[in-house]
């Protein structure tokens, strides 16, 4: 199959470079996967700046409640009269922060960037299966970002019912101002986003199945590709369910149906809605919402596996177990959504079932963590910035993941549900970890994206401050959660009981400000290196995968001449012959396109 594809591809690409490209076809409406990856990355980073900026604003309100800051007045305008943040905009900031970070930064910015960049390059393909669909996917994502941002400027405020937009709060403008035009824009934006995500995912799946180069069997795929492939499958399975929930909610809001609404008396009158159930919405939402966190974390896991192996100069430990655990996590992720709903009023028996499936998911996760740790063991670790972020990923994934054992247990969830304990848990395990994955990926593949190197020293500074800061933010947060402090409270000092937690909130906010400030170092490094970074060599990290056999300069079709042929798995680092010498003398890695050497045994990994 792939051989046939190669023959035709090779033919069509004989003339690459000859056709003229205008600025518009090269940089804007590009169908080249490498350019689309960069578009995703930069859009994702810009959304990330906005999302993290919002979190700083509401963290300041939490640390110094109802105090006046000029920055509030400058940024929030009428929502901060006299520089004091109002409860409405607090909830709006929390909502849009969650939405932007989960969907726009960690789904599109992470998976969109690296799936696009790495799938064709690592499987040895000229481009995605459909370059046009790929382009449409990015532009839909861009439009949905614009729609989401435009909702910030709506008269009655942006959506403010929490990123989970549970009805009736999200359905009734009478209940909260943001549920008017703001929520309409939120829903439209998400509908467009889902269309974009589906086009992307289908493209990734087709490309991985059909366009692998000669010799690239499924068990010779780098773990990155496995992760992107499985992520795309989960996306295709679960995103349409969110779309259906959004459509039903639009019907309830605008056309008088009662899917989620029943028996409501608000502002002095009874609404005509009868017979719907908000719990139905919760089921539909979390059927996407839970797989979504794995859509976020699996690509990061893939990137980290690859970077850990490369920089440890060792094969990833337990390659097949890693694939098996990706598949197990993907399967289990679709049957655990109910653990968000233990106290939602659903049948307690379902709670038992979901506890069981949820704690099962800890097993493949534990296997992954142990395999990563073992990958470091007896390595020759090269501390490039990407490696630091990958080790940081493993650390926060473990710390955040372990508290999942508490939240996944229906009995324990009763008292920590919707408290700061939950915030601490998911920010560590999917927020910070996935961001580390994203940053690791950027540092590692920057030479491939822009043909230049990022400054390593700035990278070290960026990592160490971020690593300390993010523990400083989220570790103490567990404790205020266990004190029973509910999330999404505009202030914790409206009544005296939580007054003694205020110090902790100040500490958290100070750490948050420091940590976000140091991201500016990263942004400076990123943008200045695009233009002034040191020119990259073809394979700066001495890695084995195919993207490092492609020329530094970007060309249509990725490789001059024929596509590379694959002879081995992607992790032949420090492989030795029986005499203890490296397979290729003087070189501790063997790229995938190098045939087996004389006397070399093929790994039966």
């Amino acid at each position: 199959m792939s051989a046939v594809v190669n023959a035709t591809e090779a033919h069509t690409h004989d003339d690459h470079g000859h056709h003229e490209q205008t600025f518009i076809t090269k940089y804007i409406f590009s169908t080249d996967h490498k350019m689309i990856a960069k578009q995703y990355l930069i859009t994702g980073l810009l959304m990330g700046i906005i999302g993290i900026g919002m979190s700083i604003l509401f963290r300041m309100q939490l640390a110094w409640p109802e105090q006046s800051f000029w920055i509030f007045e400058a940024l929030l305008g009428k929502w901060a009269p006299g520089g004091v943040m109002t409860p409405e905009i607090y909830l709006a900031l929390v909502t849009i922060h969650g939405t932007i970070m989960v969907f726009f930064v960690l789904t599109a910015g992470l998976s969109g960037t690296f799936s696009n960049l790495l799938i064709p390059l690592q499987i040895g393909a000229r481009d995605m299966a459909s370059g046009f669909l790929n382009m449409v996917s990015y532009w839909l994502f861009f439009i949905s970002s614009l729609v989401m941002l435009s909702s910030l400027f709506v008269e009655a405020g942006p959506a403010s019912a929490g990123w989970t937009i549970y009805p009736p709060l999200s359905a009734l403008p009478q209940a909260i101002g943001g549920s008017g035009m703001g929520m309409t824009l939120w829903l439209s934006s998400m509908a467009i986003f889902i269309a974009s995500s589906l086009m992307g995912s289908l493209n990734y799946i087709v490309t991985v199945i059909n366009l692998r180069t000669v010799g690239m069997s499924m068990t010779r795929l780098p773990l990155t590709i496995w992760a992107f492939f499985v992520t795309a499958i989960i996306g295709v399975v679960s995103f349409p369910v969110l779309l259906s929930a959004a459509l039903l909610l639009i019907m309830d809001r605008s056309f008088g149906t009662s899917f989620f609404l029943s028996d409501i008396f608000i502002q002095g009158e009874v609404l005509s809605h009868q017979g719907g159930s908000p719990v139905l919405f919760e089921h539909l939402f979390w059927f996407l919402g839970h797989p979504e966190v794995y859509i976020v974390i699996l690509p990061a896991m893939g990137l980290v596996s690859e970077i850990l192996a490369t920089n440890s100069r060792k094969p990833i430990f337990g390659y097949r177990a890693m694939i098996a655990s990706i598949l197990a996590i993907a399967f289990l992720s679709t049957i655990v959504w109910g653990h968000h709903m233990f106290v939602s009023g659903m049948n307690p028996f379902l709670g038992s079932v979901f506890t069981f499936t949820t704690l099962l998911i800890a097993i493949p996760s534990a296997v992954k963590a142990f395999n990563w740790i073992t990958t470091l063991w007896k390595g020759n670790i090269q501390f490039n910035p990407a490696m630091l972020f990958s080790i940081g990923f493993v650390s926060t994934f473990i710390t955040g993941g372990l508290t999942g054992i508490i939240l996944g247990d229906s009995t324990l969830d009763i008292n920590v549900h919707d408290t700061y304990f939950v915030i601490a848990h998911f920010h560590l395990v999917m927020g910070i970890s996935a961001l580390y994955g994203l940053l690791a990926g950027v540092y590692h593949w920057f030479p491939k994206m822009f043909g230049r190197m990022m400054n390593k020293n700035l990278g070290f500074v960026h990592f160490w401050v971020t690593a300390i800061g993010s523990y400083g933010v989220f570790f103490p947060m567990h404790f205020i959660g266990m004190a029973g402090l509910p999330r999404r409270y505009y202030t914790n000092t409206a009544f005296p009981y939580f007054d003694d937690l205020q110090d902790v909130n100040v500490v958290i906010t100070v750490f948050a400000i420091i940590t976000s400030a140091v991201q500016l170092v990263f942004l400076y490094n990123f943008f200045s290196s695009i233009f002034f970074g040191k020119k990259a060599t073809m394979n700066p990290w001495e890695a084995t995968t195919l993207e490092w056999t492609a020329p530094v300069e970007h060309i249509h079709g990725n490789w001059y001449g024929d596509l590379p042929i694959v002879y081995r798995w992607p992790y032949d680092y420090s492989k030795t012959n029986e005499d203890g010498e490296y397979v290729i003398t003087g070189q501790d890695f063997v790229p995938q396109n190098i045939p087996l050497q004389k006397g070399e045994e093929e790994m039966n990994h």
């Binding site: 549970y166 608000i266 097949r320 097993i363 296997v367 740790i373 470091l376 501390f383 266990m482």
Partner: protein, 385 residues
């Protein structure tokens, strides 16, 4: 305290900055290459930093447990609560054990096997035995936790009618709570938001005789030692009834009735006198005294001193007043409870009184009092809007 914490933060930050400058210095030597790939020195510096970071993780864990564990809720005030706490502590101990172990290995390996020129990494691709071990250990441990958790869960959620629980409805609206006691028949009258009119703010069906002896009130009194079954009903949006001290929580969903049952075991008085609460309230009052000083300096009224009461919080985002939606809970002896409930007006009596006022226009002292009551009710309604 705050000052101390801020000093620690600043100290850590300056250590980081110092380390950063060291890294810069190290990399600025005359012989360094500018390849932007980690050099021998980078590996060494970052290897040691990994070790220091491990120490940081351990220190911050110890610090948090040392200083912040006092924030953990007091002894559970309900029968099932102590089981929840036991399970919580077992799980926490386990988590901390695994955390210390895995973070230790991760960062120690990162330090120990930091790159050096000429070092040969071990080609170690897999080992079935090892992988089997670390699959089977989580399986066994988690199986134990799952079984323990599930037994506790079904104990909590299975409400036994034979215990003759006291039935109370908790009614939520933006942004307050009401409690409706089921009265002597221990059966709640039917209710629906469509019956809401005038003083009948909870929409109780007047034609249902079970509703006549119901008592509607905005403060929750519970007799100690008697099982209580809460039925939750919402008027507008989702709310969540969170009783942190009783380790109880249930969402309040418009259009359906949810329920949760527990048996309170510690009275408000006992809780107030417990060592934990005396200490906590002391801390809070110190903070309030400081705030009062500032207020008085600004010519405002100082804060009252705080006294502990159990409370019910809203724990599901429900609108702009979400952060201050709470109701006082009093746990008291059976006798006190009975005396208290006797004083409260029943739903039937309230409705009859309203009917009297509207049909008979005679101004007696009693009627005046009633009208005042009505005014109050009217006020709450405008607040609602």
């Amino acid at each position: 305290m705050t000052v101390f914490l801020i000093i620690i933060v600043i100290a850590l930050f300056s250590v980081t900055v110092w380390q950063m400058s060291k890294i810069f210095d190290l990399s600025r030597g005359p012989n360094t290459d500018s390849s932007q790939v980690a050099s021998q020195k980078d590996n060494k510096v970052n290897g040691y930093l990994m070790l220091m970071f491990l120490v940081f993780i351990y220190v911050i864990s110890i610090y948090c447990f040392w200083h912040y564990s006092k924030f953990y809720l007091p002894e559970a005030a309900s029968e099932h609560g102590s089981e929840v706490d036991t399970l919580m502590f077992i799980t926490l101990a386990l988590i901390m054990f695994v955390l210390v172990l895995t973070q230790g290995l991760l960062h120690w390996f990162a330090f120990k096997y930091r790159g050096e020129k000429g070092k040969k990494a071990l080609f170690f691709a897999d080992n079935d035995k090892l992988e089997f071990i670390w699959t089977i250990i989580p399986v066994i441990v988690l199986a134990g936790l799952i079984i323990y958790g599930l037994f506790t869960w079904s104990d909590i959620m299975n409400i036994n009618d034979e215990d003759d629980p006291l039935v109370i409805e908790i009614y939520a609206y933006q942004f307050d709570w009401r409690a409706r006691y089921s009265g002597e028949d221990n059966t709640l009258g039917k209710a629906n938001v469509r019956f809401i009119q005038g003083v009948n703010q909870l929409g109780v069906d007047e034609s249902d005789p079970y509703g006549n002896d119901d008592v509607i009130i905005n403060e929750l009194h519970l007799p100690v030692g008697r099982p209580v079954l809460f039925k939750f009903r919402s008027q507008d949006v989702l709310h969540s009834a969170f009783f942190p001290h009783f380790r109880a929580q249930m969402n309040v969903v418009p259009g359906m009735i949810t329920q949760f049952g527990f048996t309170p075991t510690i009275t408000s008085e006992e809780m107030r006198e417990s060592e934990y609460m005396v200490e906590k309230v002391g801390r809070i009052n110190d903070i309030r005294k400081d705030k009062s000083k500032e207020l008085m300096a600004a010519g405002e009224v100082p804060l009252d001193s705080y006294e502990f009461e159990y409370y019910l919080l809203c724990n599901k985002i429900c609108g702009q007043g979400h952060y201050n939606m709470q109701m006082k809970i009093v746990v008291e002896s059976e006798e006190d409870y009975k005396a208290w409930i006797k004083e409260q007006q029943t739903f039937g009596a309230t409705m009859a009184a309203v009917a009297d006022v509207s049909s008979v226009d005679v101004s007696t002292n009693e009627d005046d009092a009633l009208e005042e009551d009505l005014d109050e009710e009217g006020n709450t309604e405008t607040e609602l809007e």
